[in-house]
């Protein structure tokens, strides 16, 4: 019995498939970065739509967020990879994975942005309006720069949880870390070693990231620093500051 358990801890055999797992980890990171980049932009668009004065835009964006949040991410991935082809829309596994996760994360990230924008004190809005700023100008120069400070730590946390959630796209046969592990395990049955190594890989990438996020969190609390602001540039005066 003991011998069998001791044998489990023999990781020498893993040399064979370790390169495959590391390569798969790179795919996982790529997925994370792609999804996050899309989500950051699209999430902001959704948030601005939800805060817009146009009723139509508000309805569309609210419906989007509610539907996405009200259904499992796994189902959304299935939909994109298995259902859409019935309508003649086909994606490569990687693309389907990115789209599925991006659709999902955009909804959640938009809520983070929205909370951040709404957290900017009302007085800031009124002061901008009293100075004759248009809504667009006020958003760009006054509201968003302040909202960003509030929003960076929660965005960082979503980034980390996204990295782990990329394992979901194994379901649409993207050869990321989880799926690769399953394939290898199906051939050599070394479940313990394979999935332990995968766990170590996930953790050793997530943990430093979470340390970095808490560093950012602390920095954001310090307050506004003395540094020249780049926000005061306008097309008319580019280079004057």
């Amino acid at each position: 019995m003991l011998e069998r358990i001791a044998a489990l801890f023999d990781f020498r055999g893993s040399v064979e498939y370790l390169p495959d797992l590391l390569f798969a980890a790179v795919i996982s990171v790529e997925l994370t970065v792609c999804v996050m980049l899309i989500g950051l932009v699209f999430g902001l668009v959704i948030a601005l739509m939800r805060l817009s004065r146009s009723r139509t835009l508000r309805i569309i964006s609210t419906a989007y967020v509610e539907v996405i949040r009200g259904t499992p991410c796994l189902l959304q991935l299935f939909y994109i990879y298995f259902v859409l082809p019935a309508f003649g829309i086909r994606f490569e596994p990687f693309a389907a994975g990115v789209i599925g996760l991006a659709v999902n994360y955009s909804a959640y990230l938009s809520e983070v942005y929205r909370a951040g924008i709404l957290a900017v004190p009302r007085g800031q809005l009124e002061a901008s309006q009293a100075l004759g700023m248009s809504r667009r100008l006020m958003m760009r120069l006054i509201i968003l720069p302040q909202a960003i400070r509030v929003v960076v730590p929660p965005l960082g946390n979503y980034f980390i949880s996204l990295f782990k959630d990329t394992s979901l796209v194994s379901i649409v046969t993207v050869k990321e870390l989880m799926f690769t592990g399953q394939i290898i395990a199906a051939t050599n049955f070394q479940y313990f070693t394979i999935f332990t190594i995968i766990g170590i890989i996930y953790f050793s990438l997530s943990y430093p990231s979470s340390l970095f996020v808490s560093y950012l969190e602390r920095r954001m609390k310090v307050g506004y620093r003395r540094k020249p602001s780049r926000l005061l540039r306008s097309p008319a005066t580019e280079g004057a500051l």
Partner: protein
């Protein structure tokens, strides 16, 4: 310069302004006093459309603005025009509302730069001059959180002035300040009045009102109860509400040991 005609405003079923009519001439300094909840701030906020009117009309430089009846039809101004009017009406708030992510100088420059599209080469010296005018030449690069309340409020005044407004609205600008900082802000406002700026000042500083105002308006319960030259309002109020209010304000001063009636009214 500014004329309010039968302005009404309510929040839900609470009426805040009831048929308020007021006319302010160019270069005139009007101080608005009255108990809290009288509608003083709301009236001010209606003038630059931070609050929308329910009925009545506001005229700025003789022209009706925001929403008005023309040829028997209701006209609602476009966003662009409202912004344009606002850019000519400076406003200073009780809570300063400086932009925390900009330095003092940037706070002053941001709006002229982006709204008026004034070239930096002209704007920067002008902004520096404004900082000097409010006595803060040494604080140009400071962020709002590095400034005292009085300094922040003076930056806020300079920020409003940077738009070259035709008139200025002051909404209880000294109420949030420590007593010893009030003087610096009032000094800046006094200088502004001397320069001939048209000003509507909602204030609890009776001394300032008495000394600087051309006219004092007493408001209570959403209506203008009484208005007239400061000497008249403070010494011989016609309305019982006015004298009652002034008595209670001055009594409080005395309790605080801030002098007797004449000195509290004076400076």
């Amino acid at each position: 310069m500014i004329r309010l005609e039968k302005v009404c405003k309510s929040f839900g079923h609470i009426t805040v302004l009831r048929d308020v009519s007021l006319e302010v001439q160019k270069g005139e300094v009007v101080c608005v006093i009255g108990p809290s909840g009288a509608g003083k701030s709301t009236m001010l906020r209606c003038i630059n459309h931070l609050e929308a009117l329910d009925s009545g009309t506001i005229y700025i430089e003789g022209k009706p603005v925001y929403r008005y009846i023309r040829d028997g039809r209701l006209v609602v101004d476009r966003e662009k025009r409202i912004e344009q009017i606002r850019s000519q009406v400076g406003m200073v708030f009780q809570a300063f509302n400086l932009f925390p992510h900009f330095t003092a100088l940037e706070n002053i420059m941001v709006s002229p730069l982006h709204v008026l599209r004034e070239p930096m080469a002209e704007l920067r010296p002008r902004a520096l001059a404004l900082m000097a005018k409010v006595g803060l030449s040494d604080k140009v690069g400071a962020y709002p959180h590095e400034l005292s309340g009085g300094q922040q409020q003076r930056v806020a005044i300079a920020r409003a002035l940077a738009m070259r407004p035709k008139c200025m609205l002051f909404d209880e600008v000294t109420s949030a300040l420590d007593p010893e900082l009030v003087g610096d802000v009032l000094r800046v406002m006094r200088a502004l009045a001397t320069d001939g700026m048209t000003m509507i000042v909602v204030t609890h500083e009776m001394g300032f009102a008495r000394e600087v105002a051309d006219r004092v308006v007493f408001m209570a319960d959403g209506v203008i109860v009484e208005e007239g030259p400061p000497g008249e309002i403070f010494s011989r109020p016609k309305n019982e509400r006015t004298s009652q209010f002034l008595r209670s304000v001055l009594q409080r001063r005395e309790e605080l040991g801030e002098g007797t009636l004449p000195s509290a009214l004076g400076t």
